[in-house]
Amino acid sequence: MARYIFQRVLYMFLTLVLIATFSFFLMKMLPGTPLTMEDKLSETQKEIILEKYGLDDPVPIQYLKYMAGLAQGDLGISFQFDNREVTDIILSRIGPSMQLGAQALLIGTALGMLLGLISAIYHNGFLDYSSTFVAVIGKSIPSFIFAGLLQYYVGLKLGWFPVALWGTWEHTVLPTIALAMFPIAIAARFMRTEMLEVLGSDFIQTARAKGVNKFGVVFKHGVRNALIPLVTVMGPLAISLMTGTLVIEKIFAVPGIGEQFVISITTNDFPIIMGTTLFFSFFFVFIILVIDLLYGIIDPRIRLAEGEK
């Protein structure tokens, strides 16, 4: 197992190096420079400033310099936020994004699983249809619509929670709910489909025949087996939720990282583009690793297969 993890971590870094390389060269194909006043500065002035930041070097040299810095954990300084270190920017912005993402993921999957479970147990009944309805709504209506509705009705009209801004836990309630709609829908759909399949399988019949009560059948034998496909989709879901969502963060004025991602590209803020790309990539490959390890815990068959290698 230790060898397996070691190997995976090694591949992880190799992947990151490749991502860094591809992103760097693709990024350098963007038109323009990081200068804010590109339209007003004279060519000579532009050259002087670009020279100061080493942006006049040939791209391969810039790449080598960047990678050398990266190897020492230096992501460089931002152009958009003059002199501010990229690491500081990412670390200070990721907090709110992760908090919202984690809350939405927890609440969303828990609720979604519950909905899916109810659907499966009361298959084709009223409860099934209503929870399927909720899931379809959650999947098909974009989260910014929920966000807007929540902000207007719950925030402004009812005044139960703050309209927007950041600070206390109350401020996180509305954005969390808006963000959670998608995981609710996803979890409910998967849970329902899997549970229906699992509940119809032979070993459940056996368990029933042995006289295990309904509760035991559903939770001890059913849920655990239905979880596997859910775990597969949870990984990418966790990543997309926890790396910040542009729209929700904008609507609720959350000081997260979501928008930074896009702004850095439109302003040619090269160090931030690289920093956020690498950070998200790292997060991505890391979660994939965690998911693979989780499989082993949930599904004994996978654990066994790994052991044979």
């Binding site: 992947t15 060519e43 002035q45 930041y53 000081p255």
Partner: protein, 564 residues
């Protein structure tokens, strides 16, 4: 195993491609302007009431402050909050009048090349140090020093302050800059040539003083946190939570503290208009800038104020193109566009039709005080019939029946809508088809610089309060001309205004009037479209906020809350 990793790599690649593909949607896609400029007008109510109730102003800004280092600042947000926490030699007051700040008075030499400023002796930094002439010398030298990497420093000072050009190119030591502290409270500035608008520059962010000892002690961290900045202005920043907001409190040691009423300004970063409106309606904030549909929704409200900005948008026409090289064709394009509908239906934010190269309420006649725009009047009119005639004539002269022109524009929603409208308007001209090409802001700049466009929807905001900032663009080989326009007569007028008449304000002004007529009416170099405005909600109890045409958008120094 190997399979999984290839899959990972594939996914990662897709992810990084997505990153690059997202490069659209720049906020400033619809204009090449920088540091937010608005014309002098009072927001809030006229200053009739008096402060009552808690003197706290709650507002929002549209983005995080990129830096509080005046030498590095380039955008409206930074200049706004530098302007609220700092005083330069002069500062912008009501109606864009310059009022003495750190300078008590100034003298200009006979040849208009030496400006001597006498500084007040009671101004201090928030650490207790006095504000002296040395602080200006240090700050200005720092701004042009190539080591600093300032963009605005060389842009504002080159060709203005003696030796700035050579210093910013690294050919001369910074000590040679034409600015000297004669003693602690006397600042002597040597100019490269007479600059009639030099005083308005001294109110600009790049010309703010800096406390050398403090700046050097902070090193790379200067201007990045609330505790790594030093103020000498009406307010000081006590808290700065990045991307979330910041708090300013009254600076009790400010030399003019008795005029400052507000005790506290809370600023939150809110980027979404609907969010601002909801916060405003819930009473959490006292002002909210609006866009398109919200302006219509709030139309008729007493709290809605339209703040006109001296930022001009126009169609650039590349004269290297055989059709656009024809003056009648350009005149036809100027004349065929209905600007009223453009501002009322498409933009719907209070913007006004542009009928010249100088925005309205930007510069006044030095003696009569009449507005530049009013004196020269509308230089273009919409007349579809006449436009068609001119166009037919142009096509005849060129010997063509059909023409296809490419219109280069921004990629924001509004920009696309506007360009679609312009396409329809232009295609009223017989034989003309227009293809719209929406591109991101940086790409448009690249195509502009290399002149790879035919028609272009572009804009310009002023750098100082003087007609020269707009008219100087179009001289032969001007860095931002890029239309191929070259007229000896026009060049001579601009040259005359800036040299021969540098010390004769009336003659200079009249020369600019003449130049504008030549540019728009005779030579039809650009087709002006509209002058930008911002519609904003202000709670009725917020009073005395001054809107500025350049530099900081608002002056809060005299603002107060009147909750009676």
């Amino acid at each position: 195993m190997r399979k999984t990793n290839w899959l990972l790599l594939g996914l990662a690649l897709v992810l990084s491609m997505f990153l690059v593909a997202c490069s659209g949607g720049s906020d400033n896609a619809d204009g090449g302007d920088t540091g937010g400029e608005k014309s002098g007008e009072k927001s809030g109510e006229a200053a009739e009431g008096e402060p009552s109730g808690e003197q706290v102003l709650n507002i929002t800004d549209s983005a995080e402050i990129p830096t509080m280092d005046p030498s590095l600042a380039t955008d409206a947000v930074a200049f706004q909050w530098l302007g609220s926490t700092m005083d330069g030699l002069y500062r912008l007051g009501e109606d864009a009048e310059l009022e003495p700040a750190i300078a008590k008075e100034h003298k200009v030499s006979e040849d208009a090349l030496t400006w001597t400023f006498t500084l007040r002796e009671d101004a201090t930094w928030t650490n207790g140090d006095p504000v002296t002439a040395h602080d200006f010398v240090f700050a200005w030298q720092r701004a042009v020093n190539p080591e600093t990497g300032s963009e605005y420093g060389p842009y504002m000072m080159n060709g203005v302050i003696k030796n700035a050009e050579a210093i910013s190119s690294g050919e001369m030591p910074v000590e040679e800059l034409g600015v000297k502290a004669v003693d602690d409270y006397t600042l002597e500035v040597q100019l490269e040539k007479p600059i009639p608008y030099f005083l308005s520059l001294t109110a600009f962010g790049t010309f703010l003083p800096l406390n050398q000892e403090f700046v050097e002690a902070q090193g790379d961290k200067f201007g990045l946190e609330a505790n790594t900045i030093l103020s000498n202005g009406p307010f000081k920043m006590t808290e700065w939570k990045h991307e979330e907001g910041w708090t300013l409190v009254k600076n009790e040691d400010y030399w003019d503290a008795e005029k400052v009423n507000l005790e506290k300004i809370n600023v939150s970063v809110v980027k979404e208009t609907s969010t601002r409106v909801n916060l405003y309606d819930s009473g959490e904030i006292d002002a909210a800038a609006l866009s398109g549909e919200f302006v219509q929704q709030k139309a008729g409200s007493d709290e809605l104020k339209v703040e006109e900005e001296p930022v001009l948008f126009y169609l650039k026409m590349n004269q290297q193109h055989e059709v656009l090289g024809n003056v009648n064709a350009r005149k036809a394009i100027q004349m065929v566009i209905n600007r009223e509908d453009l501002v009322n239906v498409i933009l719907a934010n209070g913007s006004i039709p542009a009928v010249g190269d100088i925005p309205q309420n930007f510069v006044k006649h030095p003696e009569t005080g009449e507005d530049f725009r009013e004196i020269n009047g509308p230089l273009i009119e919409t007349n579809v019939e006449k436009a068609k005639e001119l166009w037919a004539k142009a096509l005849e002269e060129i010997g063509k029946d059909t023409v296809n022109l490419e219109l280069l524009g921004g990629d924001s929603e509004v920009a696309k809508e506007m360009d679609a409208y312009l396409k329809a308007q232009l295609e009223q001209l017989e034989g003309l088809t227009v293809t719209v090409k929406p591109v991101p802001f940086k790409e448009r700049l690249r195509l502009d610089t290399s002149m790879e466009y035919e028609l272009q929807n572009a804009g310009w905001g002023p750098d100082y309060i003087d007609p020269n900032t707009f008219l100087n663009l179009w001289v032969t080989d001007g860095g931002n001309n890029k239309t191929g326009y070259s007229s000896e007569e026009y060049d001579a007028l601009i040259e005359k205004a800036n040299n021969e008449y540098a010390t004769q304000p009336v003659k200079r002004f009249e020369t600019f009037l003449e130049a504008e007529k030549m540019l728009i009416q005779e030579d039809a170099v650009i087709a002006p479209l509209y002058q930008r405005a911002v519609a904003k909600l202000w709670k009725p109890y917020v009073k005395g906020v001054i809107t500025n045409p350049m530099g900081p958008d608002y002056t809060y120094k005299y603002a107060y809350i009147d909750k009676k």
